[in-house]
């Protein structure tokens, strides 16, 4: 897949970081505003997908391998299971909210819910991006 024209590349350079930041915002404010781990994760994956589409897979092949999509996917699901199991480790039930809930309507509130959102965000972003680069970028027998 070849890259697109210079106009598309320049606009992508401006847009992709903004989309990435919006995704991070949606993930971090998942317990306050609409959105959450899933929506923010898809936004982050979309920003990376935009970069690969604009610059072409031939140019991005070596870059894509450095981003370690499968590692971050496993990392996200591991963190999520770990947070879920923290309640069991404490001797109570799964998904116990072990952190102080804090004041509502503030960024640091709601206990484990923001942490779960961050874990889901990492996992979904890496998973969708891994599917995309497996379909569009990698060649036969190439490892991710």
């Amino acid at each position: 897949m070849k890259g697109m024209t210079l106009i598309v590349k320049r606009i992508t350079q401006l847009m992709a970081p903004s989309i990435f930041l919006l995704g991070i915002y949606v993930v971090f404010h998942g317990h306050l505003t609409p959105g959450g781990g899933f929506a923010g994760g898809v936004l982050i994956a979309g920003s990376f997908t935009l970069l690969v589409l604009a610059y072409g897979s031939d140019e991005m092949r070596s870059e894509v391998r450095k981003w370690r999509a499968t590692f971050f996917e496993s990392f996200g699901i591991f963190i999520f299971w770990f947070i879920a199991l923290l309640g069991l480790i404490q001797g109570s039930y799964l998904f116990l909210n072990i952190i102080q809930k804090g004041r509502p309507f503030h960024l640091f509130s709601a206990g484990i819910i923001p942490l779960c959102n961050i874990a889901i965000g990492i996992e979904v972003a890496a998973a969708l991006f891994a599917i995309f680069i497996t379909l569009a970028v990698l060649r036969i027998g190439e490892k991710l």
């Binding site: 959450g36 799964l94 709601a110 599917i131 027998g141």
Partner: protein, 178 residues
Amino acid sequence: MLMTALILLIVLMILGAIVALESKDLLSGIISLGIVGFALTIIFLILQAPDLAIVQIIIETLTLIILIAAILKTTRTDTEEEFGTKKVFIWLCGFAFIVIFFLAAMKAFQHMPEFGSKTLRMARTYIDSGLSRTGAANLVAAVILDFRGYDTLGEATVLFTSVAGVVAVLRKVGRKRK
């Protein structure tokens, strides 16, 4: 007013789906398939479900981009339909399915609660005590990550497993280049 807008949007969705099925050009088929997703986004917004609307619009855009990339690389024309006894059989099967579906739906819709009314008693509990028991201002986050945390855990695990399967299968075969 609300019902009129909903019905108009649903008719638009059905028309888009029919165009997507019938068009010979696959690119225009995919674009008219996008009508279904984006009209669904507007429906979610009208029904005051912004969480779902955000996810729907992003997923729709991503899948449209991936499908268009696939179309531009492979072929743009639809394959010819088959004729003869096979086609008659397919038409008969489709007609029988529609008749059975309508009969079952007639039975089922008689017992449906009215549109917009609450069906679950649990919903009232979530709305009343969600903020005080979880501390999350967004009630959707409170439900999916606290009250129904097991579901989200299973969903994330399913996503992880499916992506692991996709990567494992496609890495061996891969795409044929040159």
